[in-house]
């Protein structure tokens, strides 16, 4: 199935009418021609016909909020992120283009991974080569979209309006990228790596790439950077990059290409799609909200900031005054070390330290728990704040505004009514 078909099924399940309706029927029903109707998923209800009655759901992705269906972008609501290891069904999806056919047919025919560029010996590896020639590596890793929290910026920033849920921590298996790079022999001239993938640009123009990003060679050779073919014990799901993806832990999710087919070792900073301009870049200096920042003053995002979420309880809960309220969630940081999590019930005047569990491995998120009581009835907000190894904390307000709305690690606040 391709992207559209996946959504299709969901939509036709949702409402039976117009199942399989032809183009003409759709146009007639809408009372107007539908340009590009051929690109409409067949059988998908033109939502115009209801009052946009609902958003199609992605099968196998319960608890996700769909932001966009072409390309597919969906985030997980905070309470659905409670698991220590995010199940595949609850991992957010950020696609930039159209998924390759292979992801749906799950065929490895004609697939290989190429390592070339600034290496002594270019490699072409099959999946069997990867599995047999290199040491297996497993790790639970946080992947977070660089734009997670974008919806909090004002003036609004362009891009998917992620709130809290463009993050997940699943368990991946594969090999370390550095083992593969070392097998090819990285030359001293290597500066950066760039990935290339099989997904198609939305315009279906084969000369365009939806996304081709990368990381400096030092990060590529870091022991935690990996090529993964398994997610939570299963072959990578189609939406998550079957058959192979790159993961650069602690860095924006976009640095880890899905549907991978090539790692290109570069002698310059990689200049593929979404590496240049304003993509995944923030101003070199703090700017006032709404500022037009010249492109040359934008720098590539590397490490993600420290962050936490509150997964229990849900915002808006009514609690009894007599009860102890159990709070829990996760904390993580781009440098892979969270030192502490604190919670406040009084709008940040006083803080109490939460219990913080050690991570399953470096760059996995850490469980925090706290138990609180409320002094009297009324409206409370629970704020949660993580601190990383260097003492950097989550800000209370949305941090530095930037044109594309990246890196919002403001504290999450939930409302609690105490009766």
């Amino acid at each position: 199935m391709n992207d559209e078909e996946i959504l299709n099924d969901a939509a036709t399940d949702r409402r039976g009418f117009l199942r399989g309706a032809g183009l003409a029927a759709v146009s007639a029903a809408m009372g107007m021609p539908v340009p590009f109707a051929e690109h409409f998923p067949e059988g998908l209800i033109p939502v115009a016909l209801g009052q946009d009655g609902g958003v199609p759901k992605i099968p196998g992705k319960e608890g996700l909020r769909l932001l966009n269906d072409r390309p597919i972008n969906a985030e997980t609501v905070a309470t659905e992120l409670d698991d220590d290891i995010t199940p595949n069904s609850r991992h957010f999806v950020r696609n930039n283009g159209i998924m390759p056919e292979r992801a749906s047919t799950r065929s490895l025919d004609g697939w290989s991974l190429t390592i070339d560029g600034e290496v002594r010996k270019a490699l072409t590896l099959s999946m069997d080569d990867l599995e047999s020639r290199f040491k297996r590596h497993e790790a639970a890793l946080v992947i977070e979209c660089g734009g997670n929290g974008r919806a909090g910026y004002n003036p609004p920033a362009k891009g998917n309006q992620w709130t809290l849920g463009a993050v997940g921590c699943s368990k991946y298996a594969g090999v370390r990228l550095r083992d593969v790079l070392n097998a090819a022999g990285v030359k001293d001239s290597a500066v950066y790596i760039g990935y290339e993938s099989e997904d198609l640009h939305l315009s279906r123009d084969p000369r365009k790439k939806p996304i081709s990003r990368g990381v400096p060679i030092a990060k590529a050779l870091d022991e935690h950077t990996m090529l993964a073919w398994e997610m939570n014990g299963e072959p990578l799901p189609a939406l998550h990059g079957f058959p192979l993806r790159l993961i650069c832990p602690g860095w924006p999710g976009s640095t880890g290409g899905k549907w991978l087919k090539r790692i290109w070792v570069r002698d310059q900073v990689h200049d593929g799609a979404k590496m240049t301009g304003t993509s995944y870049r923030v101003p070199r200096y703090p700017v006032a909200p709404g500022t037009d920042v010249p492109e040359e003053d934008m720098e590539i995002i590397e490490e993600m900031p420290v962050k936490s979420i509150i997964t229990r309880p849900a915002s808006g809960i009514v609690a009894k005054r007599s009860d102890q309220l159990a709070l829990r969630g996760h904390a993580w940081s781009g440098s892979g070390d969270v030192k502490a999590v604190h919670v406040s019930l009084d709008f940040g005047q006083t803080w109490q330290q939460a219990r913080l569990r050690k991570p399953a491995n470096a760059y996995a998120w850490q469980r925090w728990t706290a138990s609180v009581t409320f002094p009297k009835s009324g409206y409370y907000e629970v704020w949660a704040r993580a601190t990383d190894g260097q003492g950097r904390m989550q800000p209370m307000l949305v941090p530095g505004w930037n044109p594309k709305g990246y890196l919002n690690n403001a504290m999450q606040r939930i409302a609690v009514k105490v009766v």
């Binding site: 009052q51 966009n68 072409r70 004002n154 003036p155 609004p156 998917n160 809290l164 709404g290 307000l397």
Partner: protein
């Protein structure tokens, strides 16, 4: 029930005098303005008060959630709170709510400037009026017909007059210009990508340039470009609380309530 009388104008045009909006006093402040930029209420009876938000929260609701079952309810509520005009023609009602067909609006900056002036002038005028009329002003409508007696009546009238909400297509309002967006923009990406964004006209224009330069959008004629931008600016413009774009310090940078 306490009511407050609000006199409103349309683009400063006195022909709209006589418009009456009855507001419950507790929602008066919130409902002092609304989504439709061409409709600017001037307030009587609020002395020494600073305009907190030139766009009412109810206006924002209308703009913010046009989807699903809530639509009608919100539309009704918005009408009740902000836009009630007894005897108002349905078409006008529709326009007032910002739900209906797009009518040409002022450029947002001009709108802002005018709104600022109107609010200030309004407060001064209100002060003077109250001085002149004394307490009687509160008991008698400033303009006699067609006056609304109570908030409940206003609400009832609004519900009765409410139009079917504008239909949306994958989040996009089917207002004039919608067809140009369909024809040019959704060949590659979903309408939902557009619907997620609330940008100024300038930022929308930049987006069209990017789409043309990087993502395969054909060259648009100036006329077509203007039509698309008209639609986007009108239907996908910044939301109510995002209006103080150039003076962000005037507004908190975090959301007013923990909605997440």
């Amino acid at each position: 029930m306490n009511t407050e009388r609000v006199q409103s104008r349309q683009d400063g045009d006195e022909s709209a005098t006589g418009v009456r909006v009855a507001l419950a006093s507790e929602c008066g402040l919130k409902a002092r303005a609304h989504e439709g930029q061409a409709f600017r209420p001037v307030f009587h009876g609020y002395l020494g008060m600073r305009a907190e938000s030139p766009r009412a929260s109810c206006g924002r609701e209308v703009a913010g959630d046009l989807s699903g079952r809530n639509h009608r309810r919100i539309a009704h509520r918005a009408e009740a709170l902000c836009f009630v005009r007894p005897g108002l023609q349905p078409e006008e009602t529709k326009h007032r709510t910002g739900l209906g067909s797009a009518t040409p609006l002022l450029h947002p900056w001009v709108g802002l400037a005018i709104r600022g002036i109107v609010l200030r002038v309004g407060l001064v005028a209100a002060l003077l009026l109250l001085r002149v009329c004394g307490a009687a002003a509160a008991d008698k409508p400033a303009v006699s017909k067609p006056a609304v007696k109570t908030f409940e009546q206003a609400n009832k009238a609004a519900v009765k007059n409410a139009k079917e909400p504008v239909q949306t297509f994958m989040g996009l309002k089917q207002n004039p210009g919608f067809e140009y967006v369909l024809a040019n923009c959704i060949g590659c990406h979903s309408p939902r990508l557009i619907a997620q964004h609330h940008l100024s006209r300038k930022r929308w224009e930049e987006t069209l340039v990017t789409m043309n330069k990087k993502h395969g959008l054909w060259k648009l004629s100036p006329d077509m470009k203007a039509k698309i931008l008209d639609y986007l600016a009108e239907n996908q413009g910044p939301l109510g609380d995002q209006e103080f774009k150039e003076t962000p310090w005037a507004q908190p940078l975090y959301r007013p309530n923990p909605i997440w």
